[in-house]
């Protein structure tokens, strides 16, 4: 719903069945070359769907998915590139306030790994720290066509302090999201500005900028 303010009241509005009413919301952005499977990775995570021939992204502003890490409910607001990465036309808004990123490359395609490194650089330039970055080697199910060795990717990830995982949209992808969730700071809110609001929201509503309410 467009008029629904996010985050601020989420914990209170939607009790998740436990004693703790603590929901941490994080903005997570996806990056990577076109057609490396960014969208299918997320759809698998959010909806448990997999389509052999996933169409280019249309229609999703962002998807949200709740997760549970120990006693904390974590909710990802996942932003898809909407194809704007194709001609290097991602807007600064995309990176703004991102607390986590998954940079996706194709295991059977060396170019996409090179591009992934560039996206990591771009993230360090555009996003404000601290940001948790995970590198995802996708299409692990096509291992017989593997070009990017896991050791190579792992070495790069270690040097740049990234999480790394090989994923396949046909198999479980939850692990990578869980790993990110564990690494994100789930501290108490640092008291955001009270007058910030979303248009359409009631004025007192505020956004939990990556922290808990």
């Amino acid at each position: 719903m467009a008029n629904t303010p996010r985050a601020g009241g989420a914990g209170a509005q939607r009790p998740n069945g436990t004693v703790q009413n603590k929901v941490c919301q994080f903005k997570l952005v996806l990056l990577g070359e076109s057609a490396v499977g960014k969208s299918s990775l997320v759809l698998r995570f959010v909806k448990g769907q997999f389509h052999e021939y996933q169409e280019s992204t249309i229609g999703a502003a962002f998807l949200t998915q709740p997760l549970r890490v120990e006693d904390t409910a974590v909710k990802f607001e996942i932003w898809d590139t909407a194809g704007q990465e194709r001609y290097h036309s991602l807007a600064p808004m995309y990176y703004r306030g991102a607390q986590a990123a998954i940079v996706v490359y194709d295991i059977p395609n060396q170019d996409t790994f090179g591009r992934a490194k560039n996206w990591v650089k771009e993230l360090h330039k555009q996003a404000s720290p601290p940001i948790v970055i995970a590198l995802a080697g996708n299409k692990a199910d096509l291992a017989n066509k593997r070009v990017v060795e896991f050791e190579e990717a792992q070495q790069y990830a270690d040097e740049n302090r990234l999480l790394i995982m090989e994923t396949s949209a046909k198999t479980m992808v939850n692990d990578i999201f869980l790993a990110i969730a564990k690494k994100l700071p789930k501290s108490e809110a640092k008291g955001g500005a009270a007058e910030e609001h979303r248009v359409g929201a009631v004025p007192t509503q505020q956004r939990a900028s990556g922290c808990c309410k």
Binding site: A60, A61, M93, R96, H197
Partner: protein
């Protein structure tokens, strides 16, 4: 690029991005191109600060300005009316999800060298230092009349049909003096000049209602301002367009708009030609299809303090009605600050702007600059105001007008909706936005 599109949009200013979004949502195949490396065109917010200094040919900023990346400086100052058309567009299209806003803290009007808070409700009117005791009562009666008017209910008109009476007649009926008329017309109804006095009153009544309805939404002023600057707005609508299938290319020079029998058939960049049925663009892409109809002067002022006499407001607007300073059009002052993530900690950005009337425009904005106190750095620009020479129906090239001197986005939205209507032959159907798509399971 060598493909065929329903529409090619040139320039990523706010108007073009809203249009691109609406076209994509309506199912059109859209290619959206900008010659610049960044989104926003004329309505961009410039970042980092070094870029702004370079743009105006100034030597690089020194350390006192903090981190350059903390700055997002608008080239065109505007606020959103909390209940205005742009907010409605943002909500209906769901673009509001990408943005956060703060309400502007104060709204002031200039009278006799001083500034006073704009009174909007009866209580404020009675406390205002803009009017004497008897005038306050007359103004209060006028406000009650405006609030009570229902356009289709003659009983609420109190023998003054706003559809036939002029605004001047209404003012006279309530016995309002020239000063009160001045701040009512310019600070509440937000007219830039006095032509409205001889037009029917209904427009002014609507505008005053918009002001007070907007004020009622968040309290301190009727205005909203987006965090990180106005440049976020075009980016938000561009994302909407992309989500509905629009293709984006920045940093792409446009060399030719290809015509056949007086109609557009494509756009050429270098050796590539993208075919299309329609082009939507800002005036800078079609210099031979627009005419200059005026000029706007804007002065960006970097300051390390708020505007004096505004109770240290971190954001504010001051309107200097034309008559107060012997002009034909108003002077506008707007202020935003580090609290909007547009400046480094402790810094403020003021903007003074007006429609140019003389050949010494810098002198024209002096009354505005004089209100600001010490200014650390000033950047002055005089921009030509362009309008398309035709309605685009023949050529299928639909051109937006330049951004005018108004302080809000009402005229911007009117232009956009009008262009959309001309281009598609119908009004934008908001129901085509699938608000539930990709959204939470609430």
């Amino acid at each position: 690029m060598d493909e065929e599109y329903d529409a090619i949009v040139l320039g990523t200013g706010l108007k073009e991005c809203i249009l691109s979004g609406m076209l994509s949502v309506s199912g059109k195949k859209v290619l959206h191109v900008d010659r610049n490396k960044y989104y926003g065109g004329e309505s961009a917010s410039i970042t980092p600060l070094e870029e702004l200094f370079t743009r105006f040919g100034a030597p690089a900023p020194d350390e006192c300005y903090g981190r350059g990346r903390d700055w997002n400086v608008d080239l065109i100052p505007k606020f959103l009316m909390a209940n205005g058309s742009l907010v409605k567009l943002l909500i209906h299209t769901g673009v509001t999800r990408y943005l956060e806003f703060k309400s502007v803290e104060g709204s002031y009007v200039y009278k006799g060298g001083k500034i006073s808070k704009v009174p909007v409700d009866q209580k404020e009117a009675l406390a205002s230092d803009l009017m004497g005791m008897f005038e306050k009562r007359r103004f209060r009666n006028f406000l009650i009349y405006v609030q009570d008017v229902r356009e289709d209910d003659p009983k609420t008109w109190k023998d003054m049909d706003p559809h036939t009476c002029t605004m001047q007649q209404i003012y006279d009926k309530f016995g309002l003096d020239k000063n009160t008329q001045d701040f009512t017309g310019h600070a509440l109804a937000l007219y830039r000049d006095d032509e409205y006095l001889n037009q029917t009153a209904i427009q002014t009544v609507r505008r005053i209602k918009l002001y007070s309805d907007s004020l009622a939404r968040y309290g301190k002023s009727p205005y909203l301002y987006p965090m990180y600057g106005l440049g976020e707005l075009p980016q938000g609508f561009a994302r909407l367009s992309a989500i509905y299938g629009g293709t984006y290319m920045l940093d792409k020079p446009i060399d030719e708009i290809v015509m056949e029998d007086g109609r557009v058939v494509g756009v050429r960049s270098g050796k590539e030609i993208a075919k299309c049925k329609q082009v939507y663009c800002d005036p800078s892409y079609v210099p031979d299809k627009v005419e200059k109809t005026g000029q706007v002067i804007r002065c960006i002022c970097l300051m390390d303090h708020p505007v004096p006499n505004t109770r240290d407001a971190l954001s504010t607007q001051i309107i200097i009605p034309q008559k107060q300073v012997g002009r034909k059009s108003d002077i506008y002052v707007s202020l935003v600050s580090y609290t909007h993530q547009v400046a480094a900690k402790g810094w403020f950005i003021a903007m003074v702007s007006t429609t140019v009337e003389t050949d010494n425009p810098e002198n024209e904005i002096k009354p505005g600059l004089d209100l600001l106190g010490p200014i650390r750095q000033k950047f002055v620009s005089v921009s030509d105001y362009y309008e398309p020479t035709d309605d685009g129906i023949q050529s299928q090239i639909f051109i937006s007008a330049s951004y005018d001197a108004t302080t809000h986005f009402e005229t911007t939205c009117l232009d956009v909706l009008d262009i959309f209507r001309r281009g598609t032959g119908e009004d934008f159907d908001f129901s085509k936005v699938k608000l539930d798509l990709g959204d939470e399971e609430q």
